[in-house]
Assembly symmetry: C2
């Protein structure tokens, strides 16, 4: 369906604007994405598109041809985005789909969470569990830095204790932490068939109770400073695991 809108007061424009509010977003279970790259990645989840010109998209997606003024108003990006879309919330799957998981334990910076989701897809870690105190998945910064990888992943909100469940299912629980019992990543040669990789909060690392659940702790040796950015650290660990498998 293709329609034209020229007024900022149009109800569907108002609806799109309302989704900038986190509470509305959660109530409606819809969120906004911006730009052609994200749109392409998100197609399975897109319901409505706001565009300047008709796009070649599946019939099921409603296209609203709008003015630059309307697009600019709906978009939150600093630079002008030529397309904005309304997507339905992702569906997560708590069934056992693959043999590895990433668990984010209180990673709070949206840019870091998005970057980790992007890296996880690149290195084939498609199940990601977000602890309740991690950044909100539908934050625009998370979506942008994920480069749309969220639409190709199985993202689970940890309402029940996923770590315990996975441990019972025979997963090795692997944390990253600079403790005495931590093994140097380069010396960790035998990658387990089923594993969960945990990355902790930017300032505080993993929570004590999460660290206590780990069957293995890994560390990345470094000079002069005592920590890496969590996005960088997780990239190094995921890459090492992928190259060794």
């Amino acid at each position: 369906m293709i329609k034209e809108i020229t007024s900022l007061k149009n109800p569907i424009v108002k609806y799109a604007l309302s989704l900038k509010n986190n509470d509305e977003m959660k109530k409606e279970r819809k969120f906004l994405i911006e730009g052609f790259h994200l749109l392409e990645m998100a197609l399975d989840y897109v319901e409505i598109v706001f565009t300047l010109n008709k796009l070649d998209l599946p019939e099921s997606i409603t296209q609203y041809i709008v003015t630059e003024q309307i697009l600019d108003k709906i978009s939150s990006a600093k630079s002008f985005q030529k397309v904005v879309a309304i997507c339905k919330f992702l569906e997560s799957n708590e069934e056992e789909l693959a043999s590895n998981y990433i668990y984010l334990d209180g990673v709070q910076d949206p840019g870091n969470v998005g970057t980790i989701l992007r890296t996880a897809l690149a290195f084939n870690f498609k199940n990601i569990v977000l602890s309740n105190d991690s950044a909100f998945l539908y934050n625009q910064k998370v979506i942008q830095s994920s480069q749309g990888s969220i639409f190709k992943e199985n993202i689970i909100f940890d309402k029940i204790n996923m770590l315990e469940i996975l441990k019972e299912r025979g997963y090795e629980i692997i944390g990253t932490s600079l403790t005495e019992r931590s093994i140097n990543l380069a010396n960790f040669k035998k990658i387990p068939a089923k594993c969960v990789l945990i990355f902790g909060n930017e300032g505080k690392g993993m929570k004590k109770e999460v660290e206590n659940m780990c069957t293995t702790l890994l560390k990345i040796p470094m000079n002069e400073i005592d920590s890496l950015n969590v996005g960088v650290a997780s990239g190094i660990v995921m890459y090492s695991f992928k190259e060794k498998i």
Copy 2:
């Protein structure tokens, strides 16, 4: 020297505020840092400190005991910082000090530049060359994400063509790029004794003329998406080089 200031109109407070302007910063060759961690890393470069209470610092540093209102005004961080300092610009050294360099070719996001500087220190790449079109080193976001590593590194602004000079001095010039001639990072076993690692722009990668100067091109194999965040990619490459050396 220790003095007390209670007025926002005090000339030294005004001077600190003026350093938020990039032109003033460059003219004065001074910049602001915030927070105790950065202060500790920056001590060799600190001239003036604004603090709520006297700190245990070298005599050469002037301490101004100020009100919360003044600190809040000088600081640019969202959360209240208990200390702000004025530092002199870093000194760079174009002499041959070590056998490896990082070259940032148009990396524009300040958070990415800061993160790369942090990772570089951790993995012992202490010479960093910034191309003219990379993010401004003294941007607050660069300084914050570097976690103070800038004060322990030799950071060079590429006014002359450093890549040519280093190539003439026998450095291997190694770029990262998904071209046909790129070698899989995991297969690149023999790390050269003298090398420059280049990381390119977030969207466009390395400039063509920079890529043409490379003696080796490396790639990180990945699934489904065709690029990693540049901070993550550089972390993986630096870690791999460090572990193989």
